[in-house]
Amino acid sequence: MWLHVTLNYTSAVELKGVGKWYSEILAVDNIDLNVKTGEIFSLLGPNGSGKSTTMKMLLGLVQPDGGSVRVLGIDVQKDPVAVKRQVGYVPESPRLYEFLTGIEYLDFIGDVYGIVTEEKRNRINEYLKALDLEGREGDMISGYSQGMKQKIALISALIHRPKLLILDEPLNGLDPKSARIVKDLLHELKGQGVTTLMSTHVLEIAQAMCDRIGIMYQGRILALGTMEELRVRASMPGSGLEDIFLKLTGAGDIRAVVEELLK
């Protein structure tokens, strides 16, 4: 079981005035964001809106040009290793060590996070069984399908019982059963105080899973809140997330685009 911990912070993630430039391109534009402890929070936005950059800044993988980033009460720039120890991360397209077998990779991850041998074995076996990787764990990862690689990446993010999960498109390539297991698992973890910050392009998932949603566009957070708050913000009572998203990001007139393509 996941350990319940006494926390001396209320926000798992706290961004204040954070900005990031890539040469001439403004990837993240002075954003403020608070993700509460035990919350499932989703960042949505079109491609290139700054979601992945924001997530990478939380781990210290990208240095912000301005503002402050605190994760689990720790200043990321001051002590990134302490943050990484308590965070599980899955990037958008996780590249794994393809020359290792699935089990060797997870063993490596377990050792990197300093998990005790017996516990490491139990956890690895549990996850392999749950995500239907039993029987293939001894194969080199180079022979795995995209979905199997994603499962290994997800297990490696969960195996050390992190307090915060940063998941960039976590359900990419997963089969329905595994996707359901991951979704249920995230809900269970939320009950145990684990915070999840994820990004997804599948808006139904965000709507069904997340407590709050932030919509990013051109590096800024356009809207932030629960589904109800977003509906109010978009003046679209009763609407689904897809309609709200398209309206807020200015991509509402889809019909005209399709008609133009069919000409």
């Binding site: 990478k56 781990l59 210290g60 993988l61 990208v62 240095q63 720039q77 990134p80 290793v81 302490a82 990484k84 120890r85 965070v87 991360y89 990037p91 996780p94 590249r95 794994l96 060590y97 393809e98 020359f99 290792l100 077998t101 089990i103 060797e104 063993d107 490596f108 991850i109 377990g110 050792d111 990197v112 996070y113 300093g114 041998t117 490491k120 074995r121 690895i124 076996n125 764990e137 001894g138 194969d139 080199m140 180079s142 022979g143 795995y144 490696s156």
Partner: protein
């Protein structure tokens, strides 16, 4: 056959070749100036060489008419052996290109789902293999012999020889295509049949292949080249039944006025080339998209093992990194060169010392040859290993960035791996050297100490540079280190190596010429000075490596 498709595919291959060489592609349509310079230059140099040879021929003929006949005879031998030589050299060269393209499969897969036939793909691949050095050398050779033959009144022979050269090079390129496809299929079959041992079979097989290939390559381009050319020139008429010499046999028959024989060899040469091409097309159609089966390394219940590294004072994360790297270097083909390089290095002095054809090295030089065999492999391994230790992580480097691994731990684990590996290589090559040269105990101990000093110093320098210049690009070929930093590394390691070896030079000179007036130095003091220099370099470079790693981890942006 749609030749437009062929041209597009050749262009894709050419661009992928440029990426392999580390050049950046900035535009879709690029300037062809460099291409014109390379091929035009080859042609121009060939013409100049031909004119030069023609003038020499005329001068010799004017002085001594008897030499003229010998010259003519020699020229005909050259004409006859050229197609076979071009075939062999082109084969080795194009095979070498394929070896370098371990990751290129992914970048050239796109054409497979476009409306392109296997014939178009195969012919494009065969032509693309010829671009660059092979084509330039054919242009040079062809223009040189045609121009020279004008002076020698053998233009017809030269033109026919030039056509045969192009055909030979094409044949070599098609053969490479066949080998490439067969190799993929063959390896797949091995993986399936060897089961869990596949990973070690692949390791041993790759090493064996690389070593054999490099020996052949060194032989053909090194001291054996002249002997080889002479052998080819004389032996091919006795092995006329081998299809690969039929082009030369066509030339031979033509030069001797044997019209029927010429026609027969020409026909069967063309038929052989066409068969080779369709064999390549057929193999591509059958196995071109073949994916080797997954390698199963382990089966059964997973039991984590407590490692020896933990008892040596490494944290679990550091030990995990070392174990991971060990698997990387024994399982990734592009990293296996590390095992091959030391063995290739020691081959040259060994072949020289015990040469059966050339002049053997006098036994007085054996202690120095032993020192080369002992010092060089470990030093070269340290130098090359360090420069790729971080870059080899490739796209998976995010795992290091996002894990709780400090800069100190990263450098410590990588450094230990390098030292362990270099020491292992030094031990192996040292044993080979000891058995070959029987040096005294003193020479062994001195070489061993200096080898370790070099290893420690060069490892820390190259690791510092490898971190600073890490290149995580993986396609079309893993780059691992940027060219600029590779050169800086080479320079700094060379200087450090010289500094460490400098105190040993007077000792070595005293051994060569004991009675000379050269300054003398006590060998123990020389060793102490070398150790002092190595210690300073090691410590300074290690600190620099840690600082570079810190920078790498905090500026991880990928």
């Amino acid at each position: 056959m749609n030749w437009k498709n062929v041209a597009h595919l050749i262009n894709v291959d050419r661009k992928s070749g440029r990426l392999i060489r580390g050049q950046r592609l900035t535009k879709y349509r690029e300037s062809k100036l460099l291409t014109y310079i390379v091929y035009g230059g080859s042609l121009a140099f060939g013409i100049l060489a031909g004119i030069g040879a023609g003038f020499i021929y005329n001068s010799v003929a004017a002085i001594d008419p008897q030499s003229k006949a010998l010259f003519d005879q020699g020229l005909q031998s050259v004409f006859l052996s050229l197609p076979t030589l071009v075939l062999i050299y082109s084969l080795v060269f194009t095979m070498m290109q394929q070896i370098q393209r371990s990751g290129v499969r992914f970048s050239i897969q796109a054409p497979y789902w476009l409306p392109i036939t296997w014939e178009e793909h195969t012919v494009a691949s065969a032509f693309a293999n010829l671009l660059g050095f092979p084509l330039a050398s054919i242009l040079f050779t062809g223009s040189a012999i045609i121009v020279a033959s004008i002076f020698m009144n053998q233009v017809a022979y030269a033109v026919v020889t030039s056509i045969a050269l192009v055909a030979s090079a094409f044949m070599a390129s098609v053969l490479t295509e066949i080998f490439r496809v067969l190799q993929v299929r063959f390896i797949g079959a091995i993986y399936r049949s060897t089961g869990r041992a596949a990973v070690w079979v692949r390791f041993a097989g790759s090493l064996l292949f690389l070593i054999t290939f490099y020996i052949v390559y060194l032989f053909l381009t090194g001291a054996g080249a002249v002997n080889f050319v002479q052998t080819v020139a004389t032996a091919q008429s006795t092995i006329w039944f081998v299809p690969f010499v039929w082009l030369s046999m066509t030339l031979y028959s033509f030069m001797n006025g044997l019209i029927l024989q010429t026609l027969v060899f020409l026909t069967i040469s063309v038929l052989f080339m066409v068969s080779l091409f369709y064999a390549a097309v057929g193999l591509n159609r059958r196995f071109g998209l073949y994916e080797p089966p997954a390698i199963t390394v382990s089966r059964g219940t997973y039991v984590p093992r407590a490692g020896l590294l933990g008892r040596l004072g490494f944290s679990t994360a550091e030990a995990a990194l070392i174990r991971k790297d060990l698997k990387a270097f024994t399982r990734r083909r592009e990293l296996m060169f590390i095992f091959v390089v030391p063995l290739v290095i020691i081959m040259a002095p060994l072949m020289q010392a015990f040469s059966s054809t050339g002049r053997p090295t006098p036994s007085e030089a054996f202690p120095f040859l032993f020192a080369v065999v002992f010092l060089m492999p470990g030093a070269v391994v340290a130098l090359s290993l360090g420069s790729v230790m971080i870059g080899e992580e490739g796209g998976a480097v995010w795992r290091i960035y996002s894990s709780p691994i400090s800069a100190k731990s990263l450098v410590k684990s990588k450094y230990f791996f390098m030292i362990f590996f270099s020491a292992l290589m030094t031990t192996i090559t040292g044993i080979i050297g000891f058995l070959a040269f029987h040096p005294s105990l003193r020479v062994v101990l001195t070489a061993l100490t200096v080898a370790f000093l070099l290893m420690f110093a060069l490892s820390s320098i190259s690791l510092a540079n490898g971190i600073k210049g890490a290149d995580f690009t993986e396609l079309p070929r893993p780059r691992m280190i940027r060219t600029k930093w590779s050169l800086i590394n080479l320079l700094l390691c060379g200087l450090a190596g010289l500094a460490i070896l400098a105190p040993q030079i007077p000792v070595a000179l005293t051994l060569i010429a004991p009675t000379s007036l050269l300054p003398t130095i006590d060998p123990n003091i020389a060793l102490l000075i070398s150790a002092g220099i190595a210690l300073v370099i090691t410590l300074a470079a290690y600190r620099l490596a840690t600082r570079n790693a810190q920078e790498l981890l905090t500026r991880a942006e990928t």
